[in-house]
């Protein structure tokens, strides 16, 4: 069942550029330029792109806080801007750089307030809050005013606030930005379990590609307002020919240059004693066996394709 659907969605902003002492020129800048997207119920989608690519703008249009300049978008069958208040009951949103909590109130009171605002049945609210308290370790700061929380604590509070009403779609805009390793792990573990539950649709924008690797089965990459990739991470690796690599350390350099079946020699280091092979059709074991025929192998390691390299290539090419 399709939960989010965008057709030729676009947003242009007017920017004033100074053109002299009194003159200003107004220009249209396309932040989102004809995005087509269908996301089904229960999918976890990573929506990534370089700074200024249009990620947050897309999310704002999908949540109804920004009016599209063109195209159409529906979320849970509703038109976001027109039906924003009805939609708000069915979605949860976390903007990593903004807070939806009440600055002066303790987290516990913010959550109680949200229960009334979203009119959540008491038992549902209590059960969900209990689960969040356990998973996100909220108890130690539940009675602290939001203004006194650390970024990691606040973000865990934000995530809880976004989920207490059982949203059908969760929009996360850089939820791990600025968090330390422990907080990131807590947030990721929580989202992994949420994704595993199966029916909450999650749309995640982030610059932290570890979030994507850990959480998202599907990856949508946007640049200059346009979708430049929509598919799995594996499909992206295949598209950019990124391969697993085998690094072999030898006692002595091989007597003659090695030519292997199913792999290519990508790099030679340490005076020929460290060789890096990229796998084409063969396996890591094939490489080791073939190298061992020519030289004494001291150590081996296998490197998985690096998502950052692939994404960097993609950003440069678009």
């Amino acid at each position: 069942m399709t939960v989010i659907e965008a057709r030729a969605l676009s947003k242009a902003f007017t920017v004033s550029v100074k053109k002299g002492r009194f003159r200003r020129e107004r220009r249209q800048t396309a932040a989102v330029d004809g995005v087509d997207l269908r996301i089904d119920r229960g999918e976890t989608v990573g929506y990534i792109g370089p700074n200024g690519a249009g990620k947050s703008t897309t999310l704002k249009m999908m949540t109804g806080v920004l009016m599209p300049s063109g195209g159409e978008v529906t979320v849970c069958g509703l038109v976001p801007v027109k039906q924003r208040i009805r939609l708000a009951l069915r979605i949860g949103v976390v903007f990593g750089q903004r807070s939806q909590l009440w600055w002066d109130l303790p987290l516990r009171e913010s959550f109680a307030l949200l229960r009334h605002i979203y009119r959540v049945p008491t038992a549902d609210h209590a059960a969900r809050l209990l689960r969040c308290r356990a998973m996100l370790e909220l108890d130690e700061f539940l009675d602290t005013p939001v203004r006194q929380l650390s970024l990691g604590q606040r973000m865990r509070g934000e995530l809880t606030a976004a989920l207490l009403h059982g949203p059908e779609v969760l929009f996360l805009d850089e939820p791990t930005i600025g968090l330390d390793v422990v907080s990131k792990q807590a947030v990721r573990a929580f989202l992994t379990e949420l994704g595993a539950a199966g029916d909450t649709t999650v749309m995640l924008t982030t610059h932290d590609l570890a979030d994507i690797e850990r959480l998202c089965r599907r990856l949508v990459i946007i640049d200059h307002g346009r979708v430049v990739h929509d598919g799995t991470l594996e499909a992206l690796h295949a598209r950019y020919n990124s391969r697993r690599r085998v690094v072999v350390d030898l006692d002595e350099p091989p007597p003659a240059p090695l030519t292997l079946t199913g792999a290519t020699l990508d790099a030679t280091e340490l005076d020929g004693r460290r060789l890096t092979f990229g796998l084409t059709t063969g396996t890591a074991a094939d490489v080791v066996v073939q190298v061992a025929r020519s030289a004494a192998v001291r150590d081996i390691s296998v490197l998985e394709p690096d998502i950052e390299d692939v994404i960097a290539k993609l950003y440069k090419n678009t």
Binding site: F13, R41, N51, S56, K60, T63, G64, V65, L66, M67, V81, R84, I85, R86, A88, L89, R90, V93, F95, Q97, R98, S99, Q100, W102, D104, L105, E109, L113, H116, I117, Y118, R119, V120, P121, D124, A127, R128, R131, P145, L163, H165, G166, P167, E168, V169, E193, L194, A196, A197, G198, D199, T200, T201
Partner: protein
Amino acid sequence: MGLFNATARTMPQQKLVGQITTFWVIAASGFRRYSTYRQATVAGTFTNTVFGFLRCYLFLAVAGGAVAGGYTPGQLVTYVWVAQGLLAVVLLWGTPELADRIRTGEVTADLLRPVHPVTSMLAADLGRAWHAVLTRCVPPVLAGLIFFHPYLPARWHTVPLFALSVLFAIVITFCCRFLVNAIAYWLLDVRGPLMLWTLGAGVLSGLLFPLRFLPDAVLLPLWLLTPMPSLFQAPLDVLVERDATPVQFGIVGLQACWLVVMLLLCRLVQRRAERHLVIQGG
């Protein structure tokens, strides 16, 4: 984790009951928010009381023991001290919180809640006002009672009518502040409009001096064409019983008209703003 399965189930309440409950709870949160700043409350109350003495002596000196602008000295004392008490309740000069939220993009959170932003902000403001009634209003009024000879209402309906008039004044002032702050949707920086409002509101609302001191040629258009006298002059005139009973009711009736107009204007401006909105800062 099954707890988080997408349900978005809401309480099986009637729509109106649910809306009233939500409004009430947001108002309570407004009260709670302001109750966290106790030292600021004490400092503000003290300042209002000190200024009450200054203003009261000034008005009594101007009146010189006679009737001025239709007010007896006792009515002027009541006018000044109750105005001092209402200063934080009606709140002409609050912090430009909404403008700041628009400028920083934090207003997004307000738009993402399933309550109309104007309704939500109004509820929170009523909670704030109720907190101010209990903390900021009582001490200056008591000071007036103890140290001066204020006029006390003689008609039975005056006090409830005054309470209603104050409620209307709070809502209309909220609307005025909302509209001034909402200029930030278009200009981002509202310091200019805010300065105009700060100056104009004090003078034209009847806070700094009773508007009845002004000539009728100025007073009548001000009463009929602007909401400004509804902010302070109206509740204070009702309380000091300056006019006959029908005029008292007429004043509150006029406030009610302005209340409806201003609330509609706020919703209209908010709707326009949302279509124009650019969320700042990514």
